[in-house]
């Protein structure tokens, strides 16, 4: 009965085990929409993510009007914005509920629909397989599923703006019990209300990230080209590897928490509702016995690693670009790798520093203060290594390099201003003020987003075969750089004056009691900040035009390696075909062999064999054991 005799073990070596031969002729839909090719998926992620980034920024530009000119009608577009429903902008004036929705959705969209998809999914998908010399991801279909889960999640988020009551309005952290009692009961639909849709969309987004993370890690482990040992991986690959692990292990606890909050909203459970809760003078009819703090623990168990999910890919991009444009090996490659690993590891055990105000005990508090301070060490190692890499280099200030160098001081400011927040006692004062806003925006806005811009300008020729325009790139960079600082530097002052981050009127009611800095009260600072924010919006126009115009009309890339870089993605043809490489690449050396002595070119690519008698000296080229 058995078929043992028919099928030999050697069948495993059949080169096309599925009987599927590489298909060359795919229709438009399979090729560009429902593709399983990592490059197409990467670009899909990138475009969607950029649209969401701009959308999230637009929400903030609207909020900035309300903060600078509270209660005044938003000129011109105010009336149009009534599409968000009668409770949003009556007579062009923003209602508090709508303001809260904008705030919550700004955070959610920027982080989970903007930066994570672009930094992790788009760059990871497009660049990582190319950089490790792989034909595709290990699981292309799961990769496509990841994108479509993200897409559905994003659409649900957008849809939630148009349900009665509007989108989620309890902050991107959705703190319980507020997030459970909001939009609940009465005329609200149990499912089609902002808070519930937020939870459902979020579950889709997490599913997407988990599928992506599994794919990234297995791809990096399994599909590295022959000779591409761990210590020869470009730092960007390492950054994505650590990021993927953070997503893989930190997101599920939040997913469980989201399921619990969904149960609280839909099934009436009390996971996060304490006993004896009274809302508007009426005791809430629930069983009670839950814990609001449980939500915070599970949320921040993701929330802190998420910070490193946002920053690590940008660090990886910046590392590539700095090495390429300073024509020098990246300084301290091994230190960078281990710093990234330590950063990832420690990021799991610092989360409660977001919860100093919950009144946790001294022992727990001391533990988290200590780990939080320790985590600044690997961050400083990474930043220092980047700075030292610049030292003595022959720097080319190309547009990617402008953004990459701007990343360094911006991230530095963001990081250093975080240290006071790490201390329980200082944080009691600064918690939930604009100081905190300024601190983490310095990390993610002029930090990560500048990193992303750098990456877009840098890998654009690989994706399209054309360069982005240099001049308009600079017109994009300088105003962005200036406006970023005009937006966020004054926020430190506002925060230290005591301005709370969730004030709907921008602190107008409080301004009489407040002190002044440089002649302006905390509230008055809102106006210059808002103007800078709108200028920042204008500064993105050159980028948008440049991005689309260059696809067709940009200068053609001079070769497959227009930046004269060393890593493997530049050995693939521009606009790589399905399967990426013409011949399977083999790596013989480290990722950053710039300016090797005694060569006629100042870069040596990873697939160039070691020449007889060549001195191998850089740490990243030292012989290393296989995994």
């Amino acid at each position: 009965m058995d078929t043992t005799t028919h099928v030999g073990a050697h069948a495993a070596h059949d080169p096309h085990p599925h009987g599927e031969h590489p298909h060359h002729e795919l229709g438009f839909w399979r090729k560009y929409i429902f593709s399983t090719d990592h490059k197409v998926i990467g670009i899909q992620y990138g475009l969607c993510g950029l649209v969401f980034l701009f959308l999230g920024f637009s929400l903030m530009m609207m909020m900035r009007w309300q903060l600078a000119y509270p209660g005044q009608a938003l000129p011109v577009i105010g009336k149009i914005l009534n599409v968000f429903g009668p409770g949003s902008m009556p007579d062009g004036k923003m209602t508090p509920e709508f303001y809260n929705s904008l705030g919550a959705m700004h955070g959610t969209i920027m982080i989970f629909l903007g930066i994570v998809p672009v930094a992790f999914a788009a760059f990871g998908n497009f660049v990582v397989p190319l950089q490790i010399g792989a034909p595709d991801m290990t699981f292309p279909k799961i990769n496509a599923a990841s994108f479509w889960a993200f897409f559905v999640g994003g659409m649900i988020m957008l849809f939630s703006f148009f349900v009665p009551g509007g989108a989620a309005k309890t902050g991107w952290t959705a703190y319980t019990p507020l997030s459970i009692i909001t939009d609940q009961g009465g005329t609200y639909d149990p499912v089609f209300n902002g808070q519930t849709l937020w939870l459902i969309a979020f579950i889709f987004l997490i599913t997407s990230s988990l599928l992506g993370a599994v794919n990234f890690i297995s791809t990096i482990i399994q599909l590295r080209a022959p000779g591409l040992t761990w210590m020869r991986l470009p730092f960007f690959v390492w950054a994505q590897f650590v990021t993927a692990f953070l997503l893989l292990l930190a997101f599920p606890p939040l997913e469980s928490a989201l399921i619990m909050q969904l149960m609280d909203r839909l099934a009436g459970t009390s996971f996060f509702l304490p006993s004896g809760l009274v809302v508007n003078g009426t005791p809430l009819h629930v069983s009670g016995g839950g814990s609001p703090l449980l939500w915070q623990h599970l949320f921040w168990f993701l929330g802190h690693p998420e910070v490193y999910v946002l920053i690590l890919p940008a660090m990886g991009i910046v590392a590539e670009i700095i090495a390429n444009n300073s024509r020098k090996p990246l300084w301290g490659y091994k230190s960078l790798v281990f710093a990234a690993l330590v950063l990832g590891f420690l990021s799991f055990i610092v989360w409660a520093h977001h919860m100093w105000l919950t009144g946790m005990g001294t022992a727990v508090s001391a533990f988290f203060q200590t780990t939080t301070l320790i985590i600044s060490i690997p961050s400083v190692i990474i930043l220092s290594a980047f700075f030292i890499s610049l030292w003595g280099g022959s720097i080319r200030f190309t547009v990617p390099m402008l953004f990459a160098t701007a990343f360094l001081p911006m991230f530095g400011i963001g990081g250093l201003t975080g240290i006071p927040l790490a201390f329980n006692s200082a944080d009691l004062y600064l918690h939930d003020t604009y100081y905190v806003i300024a601190h983490f925006h310095y990390i993610v806005a002029p930090g990560t987003i500048f990193g992303l811009f750098a990456g877009i300008y840098y890998w654009y020729p690989k994706a399209t075969g054309r360069m982005m325009n240099e001049f308009w790139g600079k017109v994009h960079f300088w105003p962005s750089f200036i406006c970023m600082n005009l937006i966020f530097l004054p926020m430190f002052l506002q925060g230290m004056l005591g301005m709370h981050r969730r004030w709907y009127d921008g602190g107008q009611g409080w301004t009489l009691a407040g002190d002044k800095v440089w002649g302006l009260s905390g509230f008055q600072w809102n106006q210059p900040i808002s103007i800078a924010a709108w200028c920042m919006g204008l500064a993105q126009i050159p980028f948008i035009i440049n991005f689309f115009w260059s696809m067709r009309h940009g200068k053609k890339a001079v070769s497959d390696n227009p930046w004269e870089a060393t890593t493997l993605e530049w050995t693939a043809p521009n606009m790589p075909p399905h399967g990426n490489f013409v011949t399977p690449p083999v790596a013989y050396r480290g990722p950053y062999e710039y300016s090797l002595p005694g060569r006629d070119r100042d870069f040596t690519m990873q697939n160039e064999p070691i020449e007889p008698g060549e001195q191998v000296h850089h740490p990243s080229t030292e012989p290393v054991l296989h995994a």
Binding site: P226, L294, G359, M360, G361, V364, H626
Partner: protein, 132 residues
């Protein structure tokens, strides 16, 4: 353990097939049946143990009086030990973790560490607050 200097060609990166795979598997079938029977037996045991008052037994053992709540904790500890043993059997034998590649172990080390962190700190947050 190959050095990176000797770069293998793409074809040679594949591990050689194990000619004795089928015999190895055949030898394991008996083990799987035994483990299955053990798991069933321990299911019965853990049910039976839950009706034993370990609070009482431990009170005699350590000559202290355990309250009912403490006694329940003793029962929880015993039940969790049995469950951990069963889970260990499933992981080690059915999931082949007793002889897996180092790579898989490394992934799991991290996971175990973080999941324990999740439990420990959740417990600590409950145990050491200023206000409840």
């Amino acid at each position: 353990m190959d050095h990176s200097d000797e770069v293998p060609s793409p074809g040679l990166m594949e591990a050689p097939p194990d000619p004795h795979a089928a015999q190895h598997v055949a030898a394991h079938v008996r083990t799987y049946l035994i483990v299955g029977a053990t798991l069933l037996a321990f299911t019965v045991i853990t049910v039976a143990l839950s009706y034993v008052d370990f609070g009482l037994i431990f009170s005699h053992l350590f000559r202290t009086n355990l309250s009912e709540a403490q006694g329940r904790k003793a029962n929880v500890a015993v039940a969790m030990l049995v469950a951990a043993f069963k889970a260990g059997l499933v992981a080690a034998i059915f999931m082949h973790l007793s002889a897996e590649k180092r790579l898989i172990y490394r992934i799991l080390y991290f996971t175990v560490f973080f999941v324990l962190g999740l439990f420990w700190l959740t417990y600590l947050a409950w145990y050491n607050p200023i206000v409840r």
